[in-house]
Amino acid sequence: MKYYDKLIFELSRPGRKGYELPADEYGKDAMSAIPSELMRGTEAELPEVSELDVVRHYTNLSMKNFGVDTGFYPLGSCTMKYNPKINEEIAAMPQFTQLHPLQDEKGVQGALELYYNLQQALANIAGLYEFTLNPYAGAHGELTGLMVMRQYHLSRGDEKRTKVIVPNSAHGTNPASAMVAGLEVVEVKSKPNGSIDVEDLKPLLDDTVAGIMMTNPNTLGMFETEIMEIAALVHEAGGLLYYDGANLNPLLGKVRPGDMGFDIMHINLHKTFSTPHGGGGPGSGPVGVVEHLAKFLPNPRVRKNADGSFSIESDGESLGSVSSFLGNFGVMMKAYAYILTLGRENLKNVGPLATLNANYIKESLKDDYLLPIDGVCKHEFVFDGLKDKSTGVTTLNVAKRLLDYGFHAPTIYFPLLFHESMMIEPTETESVETLDEFIDVMHKVAAEARETPEDVKNAPLTTIVRKLDETTAAKNPVLTYRQLKSAAEK
């Protein structure tokens, strides 16, 4: 693979073109059809390149990328499952892509029906009453859910409930979302096995608690077996339970958050429902609630009328709007396509297969890697680095060495409960052959750590970019082309 790091602006040559505007469909010159008051006065600073320049540029850039389409991507807590291509085909249908959000309801009934049906499907899967699909991503869903929580307490005139309880093993977005929602974060401790310490929780539950945020299974991939007791305690204290849907995948079709006592949750369509994420596309973080909270969901909403038609409505008691229009519609189409493709029966296999794959890797590697919490995990698990600590090879070194072997690294140094965390989530879409290859390479790296530790410490050795200086990158970030230029001149 060759190194390529040009900007398309660097390829630009004055006057070079890769297009010619056609006469428009009414037979007029397209440019002259634009009213003069809408024409810009200065030239747009766009790159002037040929079609071949554009094709080579983006092809070269794409080859620097690593994605689920290129290899195994066991990034814990991220559910990097395969994104079926049929989703993309459906979402690219011009009947949908050419809709305008300001179009009259009558002309977009199909799109509204899809929106409504997806909302109903998610409500069924989650065991909740109603969903909004408006939030743009997971953390945005968390914020929206917490705004619902706050709105519920305020609507009862209960203004003193400002605290949100968050486990010390939580995803970092939980406390961050609570802060953004204007709530105060209170930490509850975990037991040595990673689950919430109910005895530590009890004294925190008073009349200032708005609710608790949990994910189940938790960030160590362990199921919170005391969830029913926790739910009863929190409800008894007048608080609500928020479910962080980041770890929904292993429960799909087996357990419903609504049945566990959760009142509010978000779902990451870009995790559990197979739509691309990371650099691959926008996310979507639908929020579901129990019946008595439905009136607080954000506007606008899609409702089904008695005559079978659909309309876009706004409710008075809603917390307001959290998005422009109805959210990331293209992502919803992909998630809906995924649900219909799998169907009820196959959706029920997602959780068990994801769980089986994770346990297969965990059991195969625990001779070389330190497993702090033994037992059956759900969709993911955490190693605390290599078992043999005498070699000085760290989790970071192992992660970098994996790149040499063509695998994406797992999530590292999270959760913070251990010093050398290595969080592995294979998902259900990987074959046993891929899992075996990964297991072999992990064993190989462990052997290298014993025999040739310097190789592992200096990894990656074969990637186009070698070991990065993360300290300097964090202290002196060079984030723009201008900064890069001036740094190079110095």
């Binding site: 970071l396 999270f414 913070l416 993360e470 300290t471 964090a474 202290k475």
Partner: protein, 126 residues
Amino acid sequence: MSKILENLRYADSHEWVSLEDGIATVGITDYAQHALGNIVYVDMPEVGDEVTAGEEFGAVESVKAASDLISPVSGEVLEINEELEDSPELLNEDAFANWIMKVKVSDASEIDNLLDAAAYSKICEE
């Protein structure tokens, strides 16, 4: 094996304190800097701020994680180590030589609640 100095007191959240004439000097331990890895930023309080024992007074950010700093004593911040603003890596070089803040303590007996070197080294071994 991390370095632990005999004449200091320690918090189980890995801060050290030395108390002299009612003024506490506070830093993070060698064990803490080692666990954090390369430190890239130290978020310090301002001179004149009130800090409370057991509560956050700042944070240390490394390439691995951001960690809250928990004050082992209560009182008023007299001085902060401004050198750490530009050179946070000093904490990696010598965590005991490079203190983070000096506090005029409001209750000198609080220091009795902290660990001595022997008790702290036990925590680090666990």
